[in-house]
């Protein structure tokens, strides 16, 4: 992979991050006096004076912006007024819980979505195809918090099989991860199917058949790698959906992760924590998008060549 390609993607990712930090800064300044907002109402005048001093609120906007930028780069997001700890610490201790939920949901997405999409494409027009496609439309339309509530109603309240909220065991993880994973699985199945159908109609598939390559090998070695690229794109886009979905799902199932922290912090206007969560999520998204872009170059060398050509033109 050529370094120019990676560098241009890195620059783009950094730009997005810079935009997010600037966005948070502008919103923070536009919403009133940060000293009043970031500290609680009961803060002493001395604390407010220290705060103003530290963030340079008496200086020009440009200087304030640079101070803010430096602080963020150093991992200083201010202090949570709920318990006075650094906001970053409050946020980081929730990360593993959310990652556990997120990766399980991603696993469910892949295991449900990709095979069902492939099977639907291979048996196009059959009842398997129609059934899969019906499920994808249903899975796509049902709001995830509603699905979560239905699951709680059925499996916790009525059948009493699964715990409705909290964390601690595999059984606690099952319903939130399923709820979060199925919506994404619906999208992935749809894209896998259409992408497979596109590839199956390509001339090179006919050539492979004419050369006498076995059916299974044609599908595995020729069709799948070529169908993977749009699927990876959509998967990258769905990561954002997973993170957004985690916010509501964690609240439904009282899963003590980042999403619940964000909702609680917004409710209590613990703004240092809110901005830390937003910036952390932005950072995650940029890294994910970068990985998706790099995966392209690896899956399909043509993209890199194409990019280079566009850059020259």
């Amino acid at each position: 992979m050529n370094p120019g390609f990676i560098l241009s993607k890195l620059a783009r990712g950094s730009l997005t991050l810079l935009l997010t930090v600037s966005f948070v800064f502008i919103v923070l300044r536009a919403s009133g006096d940060p000293a009043q907002i970031m500290l609680s109402d009961e803060a002493s005048p001395a604390a407010i004076a220290t705060f103003r001093e530290r963030w340079g609120l008496d200086r020009s906007y440009l200087e304030q912006y640079l101070t803010y930028l430096t602080a963020v780069l150093q991992g200083d997001f201010g202090t949570s007024f709920r318990d006075g700890r650094p906001a970053l610490d409050v946020v980081m201790e929730r990360v593993p819980v959310t990652l556990l939920l997120g990766f399980t949901a991603l696993l469910i997405t892949l295991v449900l979505g990709i095979p069902s999409g492939i099977i639907a494409a291979l048996f196009r027009g059959s009842w398997v195809d129609r059934l899969t496609m019906s499920f994808t439309i249903l899975g796509h339309s049902i709001p995830n918090f509603f699905l979560g509530i239905i699951l709680i109603l059925v499996f916790s309240m009525t059948l009493r099989w699964l715990p409705s909220s909290g964390t601690g065991s595999f059984w606690h993880l099952l319903m939130p991860a399923l709820t979060l994973g199925t919506a994404a699985a619906a999208t992935i199945a749809r894209f896998t199917r259409s992408s497979m159908l596109d590839v199956l109609h390509q001339p090179f598939m006919r050539t492979a058949k004419a050369k006498g390559i076995a059916h299974d090998k044609r599908i595995l070695r020729h069709a799948l790698p070529n169908a993977a690229i749009p699927v990876v794109t959509v998967l990258g886009m769905r990561i954002g959906g997973l993170i957004g979905g985690a916010v509501t799902i964690e609240t439904v199932f009282a899963w003590p992760g980042l999403g619940m922290l964000l909702v609680n912090s917004v409710n209590q206007r613990d703004l240092a924590v809110v901005q830390a969560v937003v910036l952390l999520i932005a950072f995650t998204m940029v890294v994910v998008n970068l990985m998706v872009d790099l995966a392209y170059g690896w899956l399909d060398p043509r993209i890199e060549v194409h990019n280079r050509r566009v850059a020259k033109a």
Partner: protein, 301 residues
Amino acid sequence: MTSTDLSAMALPARRFGWLTRLWKSRPSLLIGLSLAWLALVVAMALFAEFLAPYGYADQSLLKRLQPPAALGGLPEYLLGTDNLGRDVLSRVIYAMRTSILIALMGTLIGACVGTVLGIVAAHFRGWVDDFIMMLVDFQAAIPFLIVALAVLAFFGNNFVLLVVLIGLFGWDGYARIARGLVLSTNGQGYAFAIRTLGVHPAKVYIRHVLPNMMGVIMVQVTLNFPEIILLETSLSFLGLGVQPPGTSLGLLLGEGRNYLATAWWIGIPAGVVIFLTTLAISLVGDWLRDRLDPNLKGKPA
């Protein structure tokens, strides 16, 4: 979608050709049902005062937590009552009004802002184009629910801010589409010819380019609208969108969540309405796309 795909959409001959195409195709039963449901939802939203048996805040504390009529509740409360003795059916009907209204306004804002920015980007090219496309990439990179939550946290909740925020969701899709269409149209003979005649660019866009775009924009609306409903209901469900005493479908479901074990009928009907509405729009949207997008004709779905 590449610009060559789109050029077929921008033929100058029949400006409202997409309307004729739509008129000529006959919908299936499923699409018919979806359209009927959507018509019902719109009717409920428009005529809530006349259709709802009670006001959405009318309480009768003696008749609290009544189950739906079919499950042994009182016959005058078709879907039962909530913890304050309010009629669930009436609340759902009024909630439809709020949710549909917010979604409509949000879609309108997003479509207008996005289309105009897309046209501006394609018209001026250069750094204007770069800047707008940078904003588009930025919008697509960060989950919007998170941004919305952050803005609501900083500014506090109010209805106007909520509508504006929801309107800003999805503008990037319209901008991308409008930009691509304008770029491909500007390369075509008719746009050049009109411009050579000395017609002002703004007039070219309004009179000739926009009408040609409407088909594609309509399809984008059907993709965007369910997502906007989900955004508003999610925010309201989390208690950060529409605030009581107002109602929204998401807020009703959020309120009903606390009574799942004892009175599930408080929240579930609102959830069903959200689900059926987004489902109906998605189905109609798929159907529209098949009808309106000539590129898909004859190709495997």
